[in-house]
């Protein structure tokens, strides 16, 4: 486990993608297959469920470290992470061992499941006595179900490809679906025979730049095609050799998340690749939050499939009859796309993302003003002559987003952040006035500079009215302008609304709490722009 703990530390230490991949690749080159298989499971987010209640661990750790519980809590307050607090507090193991990761997982970790409290305590204390601090931290993360590491599936895939020489797409394909971490599985994952992967390989996504300034600067309006900019998941749908693959923009395979799209795609001829947006949809777009309900789930039951139906709104054709279409001008690709999907789309699931009819920039501007009412984030402007590029390139595609909503709200609760903000109070809840009372309406944790963040943290500590676990109720004095992208009615929030992408736009030091907005204002926004639930 020492090697895995070192890998964790190396990944944790750097933000450079290249170094992360190098550390992962080095690990995969050296680790025995049985360990590597478990490592992949944990690195891809397949962490074991929490096996032991946090309260028990705290009590055992305080006892083992010889500190009273209040002092343990003070330490936790300074560290902000239970697994780390325990690792820092426990006396160092006299003779730390180095048993392989798979042994720790298979024989020790999984064995905790279903044991009674006394047995769990004995086993946990025994483990703590055998691990060095770096291993201890990782072990604690695993048993508390909080193992997280800053690498995407894509980086893991790339590192596996580097370490083995197997094509990246082949590795990604093989990591799909369900698998059990075993040495056999790992060997098969890195088998050099890659015929299986070619059919699944996506094209790199073409990405738009944000339009700054006025669209007139782009030249004559008739050279441009306008489309709605949807708030969904950008995706590429591939139908080849009787198989279907749906790739997200993060180049993760998400086919299994959207069985209804896979089913509809089976009606496409082989050698077809579409680019578009996955959206929750019932005669029109549903709020993105609905889609999140699906994304967050490991298994998709009939209920959720019924409640949150999805469609792919296709806007480009990348491959047709097995031929790469990307060099063709957009106007031509669009004409072919319309023929492929037909006017009504395919199976009601693969729909055409409509072109916004606008012959002049004034008409485009008018449509832009109408975007919110359409549940769109703004417009996409695409040059009719443009080829489908690779990555983010200037010139061919522009995104023209609508201005965010904004509301002045009062800081009510401050909560410790996580990760690099673990001991700072950076996660804030903001309220608006309802009569003489503040009603919480949004949570936000980004948008401030590091210096402002520290200042708010220090202020929150000095102006705490009440402490409740990691949350402090603070004096309702500070006002922030909160920006957000969307607003929807919600029965789960006291304010009656849920907002999308809330963030702190600026600290309104010029305003007093009494000057903040009211719930009435927020409900007026909802009435004017709210998406249907």
């Amino acid at each position: 486990m020492r090697r895995f703990a070192a890998l964790y530390a190396a990944l944790d230490e750097t933000t450079r993608t290249g170094e992360k991949v190098a550390a992962l690749a080095a690990y995969f080159r050296e680790a025995p297959p049985r360990d590597a298989a478990w490592a992949i499971r944990f690195l891809s987010g397949g962490r074991p469920r929490r096996l032991i209640a946090a309260a028990r661990l705290r009590a055992w750790a305080a006892e083992a470290a010889g500190v009273p519980e209040w002092l343990f809590e003070e330490c936790y307050d300074a560290v902000g992470d239970l697994a780390e607090t325990i690792a820092l507090l426990l006396p160092p193991a006299a003779r730390p061992g180095d048993r392989p990761l798979h042994e720790w997982v298979e024989d020790r970790l999984l064995a905790l499941r279903g044991e009674d409290e006394a047995a769990q305590r004995r086993e946990v204390l025994r483990a703590w006595g055998e691990l060095d601090p770096a291993q201890l931290f990782v072990w604690n993360k695993l048993i508390t179900g909080s193992f997280r590491v800053g690498v995407s599936q894509r980086l893991v895939t790339r590192a596996l490809a580097q370490a083995s020489g197997v094509d990246e797409a082949a590795v990604a394909h093989r990591l799909m679906g369900s698998w059990e971490p075993s040495p056999e599985w790992y060997r098969q994952l890195l088998s050099p025979e890659t015929g299986d992967a070619d059919v699944s390989r996506p094209y790199p996504f073409y990405l738009a730049y944000a339009l700054e300034g006025e669209p007139e600067a782009l030249g004559p309006a008739e050279e441009w095609q306008a489309e709605w900019k949807w708030d969904g998941i950008r995706a590429q749908l591939i139908r080849r050799a009787g198989q279907t693959f749906l790739w997200s923009r993060g180049e993760e395979l998400i086919t299994e998340r959207f069985p209804e799209l896979a089913e509809a795609a089976a009606l496409l001829p082989g050698g077809t690749v579409l680019d578009g947006e996955v959206l929750p949809w019932r005669e029109g777009p549903l709020p993105f939050a609905q889609l999140q309900r699906r994304i967050g789930r490991k298994t998709l039951g009939p209920k959720i499939l019924r409640e949150v139906p999805v469609v792919l709104l296709a806007y480009d054709l990348l491959e047709w009859e097995g031929d790469d279409q990307r060099a063709l001008p957009l106007a031509e690709r669009r004409a072919r796309l319309e023929r492929v999907l037909g006017p009504g789309g395919t199976a009601g699931r693969l729909l055409l993302s409509p072109v916004v009819p606008a012959a002049t920039w004034d008409a485009v501007r008018e449509a832009h003003g109408d975007a919110r009412a359409r549940s769109a984030e703004g417009l996409m402007l695409k040059r009719r002559e443009s080829a489908y590029g690779v990555g983010r390139r200037r010139g061919g595609w522009w995104k023209w987003k609508v201005e965010p909503f904004s509301v002045d709200a009062v800081l009510m609760y401050a909560q410790r952040g996580s990760g690099r903000r673990a001991s700072l109070y950076t996660d804030h809840t903001f309220g608006v006035w309802d009569g003489g009372e503040l009603v919480p309406f949004a949570k936000a944790y980004s948008g401030l500079t590091d210096a402002e963040m520290r200042e708010v943290d220090a202020w929150a500590r000095r102006n705490t009215l009440q402490k409740f676990g990691p949350v402090r109720t603070v004096r309702p004095e500070l006002v922030f302008e909160i920006a957000f992208e969307g607003i929807a009615r919600s029965g789960r929030h006291r304010s009656g609304v849920a907002v999308r992408f809330p963030r702190m736009l600026r600290w309104r030091r010029d305003k007093r709490a009494a000057d903040a907005d009211t719930l009435e204002t927020v409900h007026a926004l909802l009435a004017a722009h709210g998406a249907r639930e």
Partner: protein, 344 residues
Amino acid sequence: MPAEPLLRPTDRGLYCAAGDFHVDPWLPVPRAVVTHAHSDHARWGCGRYLASRQGERVLRARLGGSGAPVRAVEYGEAVEVNGVRVSLHPAGHILGSAQVRVEHRGEVWVVSGDYKTEPDPTCAPFEPVRCHTFVTECTFGLPIYRWSPQAEVFAEIDGWWRANQAAGRCSVLFGYALGKAQRLLAGVDVAIGPIYCHGAVEKLNAEYRAGGVALPPTAGATTAGRGTDWSRALVVAPPSAAGTPWMRRFGEVSQAFASGWMRVRGMRRRRGVDRGFVLSDHVDWPGLEAAVGATGAERVFATHGYTDTVVRWLRERGTEAHALPTRWEGDRAEEGAGEGEAEG
């Protein structure tokens, strides 16, 4: 016990009425006894200063020159101040750092200033002094703060430097200009490559060398020629140099920060450096417990840091303990990780 305590907190700092002097005042006073030269302990504008002989040079450098009214005494040498007996004893924090022992009518107080109990080749080791009342700092007064043997820390630093060399990038190590920087210089493996320093560090290196502390050869980073190969070099700089145009000359760099705060992952990440090395000039938790015990003090005042925690811990163990307010309380960890040069 007399009604007037031997030392008491005032809005200018800890004050001895019997001797009419302050210890580490934060505003100008007629007579100051100074534990060490960090700016949160040695403020300028006082009428007279009493400090250790070993710390005299750096203190004068900080107070603005040889003209500063500093009286220097040897460690252990007692002087009478208005009938109060005052002596200074090594605190092990930085060169010349001292604990202040104050004795009056048989009652003895010791003010630790900043201290550490680990060995440090750049200054005299901490020396426990018996007393009735002990004033201890507690910057790192939580049991999570436990320092590894420094040989291990320096092995990590050397390993990082070597790995950077192999990757063709310059190693920039941040540490406070006075004290930490010199301890780093004295501890790294000089055989690995050339060492350069930021101007603020280089200036204090000169004072240390003049005071008889052996440091490896160093050169000012700004005086290095255009063709300098930075990829093999270690550059020691104060944290305030991070993110400034001064950094540009080095090309590709790996940045590290040496501080006790680096013990906590969130702090390391917040610092935005590539590596954090846990190396502090302050006492850690076990050291603090041991130091308090070694004084034999029946009463302890905790100041600078986790005062409430240390007070409660000591009380639960049967020692009379109180928090001593200081202007430098602030929001400890965050300020420590910020600009306060004496912290960490």
